[in-house]
Subunit: 346 residues, 2 copies
C-alpha cells in the first residue's frame, strides 16, 4: 500500500496511482486528525472524496504516530493524552475516538487502536502494554458492534508483544479468539535489529488464520518484503519508495541507485532496463540526475513513480510466483541479486 500520510501519496496524483494499478492506499489517522481536522474531512464528504481517490483506503489507528510524533504523552486506561506535534494543542485518542475518526474518514479497512511500546522493552513492560492493547482492541470491536451502519469497514487487529516470543503468541491467539477480518503485526520496524523483526513475525504468523490477510505494518526494504512473504505476510505499507525518491534514490532489482552519483551524468539508460513505468519509458538516468541536482520537482516525481511501480511489481511477481509454486526459487534469486547498499558500479 502506497502511504498517503496527509491525504495524498507524496508527490503523486490519484490518476497516477490508478495508472500504477495501486489497489489500496494507506491514510494516517493521526495526521489527518491534527490537520486538516475531522470537521474539514466530514464536510468535504469523507477522505475518499476529499482526496479524489475512489479506491480502497486502509487507515491506521493513530496509535503509532501518537507514540512516535506527539509530545507530552500520558497513557491512561481510556487512551492517550498528548499535545500534537504541529502546535502543541492538547488532544486525546482512545480506542473509541480512533474508531470514530476512522469512521468519519470513511476508511475501508480500520486498524485497532494499540499501544506501540518502544524498543527495547522488558518482558514485564511489554506484557503490561500488551494487556492494555488487548483491552483496547476489544473496545474497538465493541464500538463497531454498536454501530448500525449497513456498510461496515473491515476491522484488523494488531499483534503486539515486542521482542518476546511468548507475548507475540499470546497476542495472536487472543486476537484470533476475538475474531477480526484481518491481522496485522505491529511494533516492528521500531529500531530493532532485522533478525528480531523477522522473529516477531515468525512468532505470530503460525497462530494467525490462513484464510485472513496478514499485514506487517511499516515495512520494509525489498528483500525484507520477500522474506516477510516467505513467512506468510500478505500486506505491507511503507514510506520508503516515496521517501527515498525525494532524496534522489531509485529502487531496482539489483539494488538502489543514488542519482546524485556522478557516474550517471551521461547515462542514457532508464532507471531500470525493461521497466514499464512512465519514468523509465521516457527519461534517461542522466536527465533524472540533472533534475535531482537542480532540485527540480519533476525529478522526485518521476523517481517516486518508478519506486512505487517497483514495489507494486515486486508484490505482483511474488503473487504470481506463489500461484505458480515457484516462490522459493524467486526468493532465492531476488535476495541473491539485490545489493542492500546500492547497485554495483558497472
Amino acid at each position: 500500500m502506497p502511504v498517503g500520510t496527509q491525504g495524498t501519496v507524496k508527490a503523486v496524483s490519484p490518476r497516477e496511482l490508478h495508472e500504477l494499478q495501486a489497489r489500496i492506499i494507506l491514510g494516517n489517522t493521526y495526521h489527518l486528525f491534527v490537520r486538516p481536522g475531522l470537521e474539514v474531512v466530514r464536510k468535504l464528504g469523507g477522505l475518499h472524496r476529499f482526496m479524489g481517490w475512489n479506491g480502497p483506503i486502509l487507515t491506521d489507528s493513530g496509535g503509532f504516530q501518537v507514540f512516535s510524533l506527539a509530545k507530552l504523552r500520558r497513557i491512561a486506561e481510556e487512551g492517550v493524552y498528548f499535545q500534537n506535534h504541529l502546535d502543541g494543542t492538547p488532544c486525546f485518542i482512545g480506542p473509541g475516538t480512533s474508531m470514530e475518526i476512522q469512521h468519519t474518514l470513511g476508511s475501508d479497512i480500520v486498524m485497532a487502536f494499540d499501544e506501540c511500546p518502544p524498543h527495547p522493552c522488558s518482558h514485564e513492560a511489554a506484557s503490561k502494554s500488551l494487556d492494555l492493547t488487548l483491552r483496547w482492541e476489544q473496545r474497538c470491536l465493541d464500538w463497531w458492534a454498536a454501530q448500525s451502519d449497513a456498510n461496515k469497514p473491515l476491522l484488523f487487529g494488531i499483534v503486539q508483544g515486542s521482542s518476546h516470543a511468548d507475548l507475540r503468541e499470546k497476542s495472536a491467539k487472543a486476537l484470533v479468539a476475538m475474531g477480526w477480518d484481518g491481522y496485522a503485526v505491529g511494533g516492528v520496524s521500531v529500531g530493532e535489529p532485522e533478525p528480531e523483526m523477522m522473529a516477531a513475525v515468525e512468532n505470530a504468523a503460525p497462530y494467525l488464520p490462513e484464510n485472513r490477510p496478514r499485514y506487517a505494518m511499516g515495512l520494509g526494504t525489498p528483500p525484507q518484503m520477500v522474506e516477510m512473504v516467505a513467512r506468510g505476510i500478505d500486506m505491507f505499507d511503507c514510506v520508503l519508495p516515496t521517501r527515498i525518491a525525494r532524496n534522489g534514490t531509485a529502487f531496482t532489482a539489483t539494488g538502489s541507485l543514488n542519482l546524485k552519483n556522478a557516474r550517471f551524468t551521461l547515462d542514457e539508460a532508464p532507471l531500470e532496463e525493461g521497466c514499464t513505468c512512465y519514468a523509465c519509458a521516457n527519461f534517461s538516468r542522466a536527465y533524472l540526475r540533472h533534475l535531482v541536482k537542480a532540485e527540480e520537482i519533476l525529478g522526485l516525481r518521476l523517481i517516486t513513480l518508478h519506486n512505487l511501480h517497483f514495489y507494486l511489481s515486486l508484490m505482483n511477481k511474488m503473487r504470481d510466483a506463489l500461484q505458480a509454486g515457484t516462490f522459493a526459487a524467486f526468493r532465492r534469486e531476488f535476495v541473491s541479486s539485490y545489493r542492500p547498499h546500492g547497485e554495483a558500479v558497472r
Copy 2:
C-alpha cells in the same frame, strides 16, 4: 509559452504539457549552459530528447540571465565575461557562443544575443548599449548564414532601447532592415513602472511587420497580457503561473486566490467554476488549501496545472476574440472583472 528554465517546466511532466495543449515551451540557455552543461545535452541527443518533449522549444539567448544572475560581469565587444551563479566558474557568452549553444540544444526558435540594460538607464547609456546589441544581433545572423544545416531554426531579433521612444523606434527599424523570422521586445519587466513597459511596446510595435510574430519577453500578469495583445503582441513567456502556484496562489478570471487564506478551509468549490483542468475537475479549494498548508507537493502540482491552463486558455480566448472581431469587448470585460490584488471575498 510555459517556462522550462532548467530543462523542465517546474513541477510539470511533458505528458501534462501536452494535455494542457501547450504548443511550445521556453528553455533557458544560460541555466542549461551552466547545468547540466552542453556536453550532457549534446550526448543525450539535444534538449528535446533530454527532457522528453517533442513539441517546439524557444530558447532565450542567455543575455538576460547573464545580466540578472551571474556575478562579476565584464562586457566587451565580443561578448560578456562572467562567473556563473552556481559555483563561480569563469564563463564567456557572446553572440557566436549563444548561437552555438542554442544550436546544440536543438532550439526551434533561437533568440538573438542582446545586452539587457538595467532600469533606469540614461539615454546616452541606452544608446551605447543598443548599438552594441545591434552589432551582436548582426553577428548572430551572420553565424547562422555560415551554417549549412538543412533544418535551420527560426531566428528572432530583440528590440532594446530602454525607456527611450526614439531608441525603441531605431532598434525596431534596424532589426526589420536586417530581416528576422520574428521580433521580440526585450528589456521590459525589469523593474520599470507598468506605463513605461506599455510604452516600450507601443514605441516598437508600429515598426514591426504585421506578418511576423511579435513576442514580449518575460511577461506578464493576465491583464498585462491582454493589454499587450491590444498593442499587437502575439507571444509571451512568463514564470508567474508556475512560480506563484508554488506559493499557493491560483489565477482566476476575477483575480488570484491565495489558498493559504482561511476562508477556503471548508470551500467545496473548484479553484474556478467551469474550468476543465485536472485540478478543477477533481479537487476542491478546501483540499488544495489543505495540501498547501501541509506543504504537500501535490498541492503545488495541481495549482501549477490550473495556472498554466488559465494562461493558455486566456491566449486561446484572445485568439478567438481577434478572429471573431470581438477583441475590444473581450478586453474591456476582462480588465474590468480582474482584481489585481486577488478575488473579492464573497
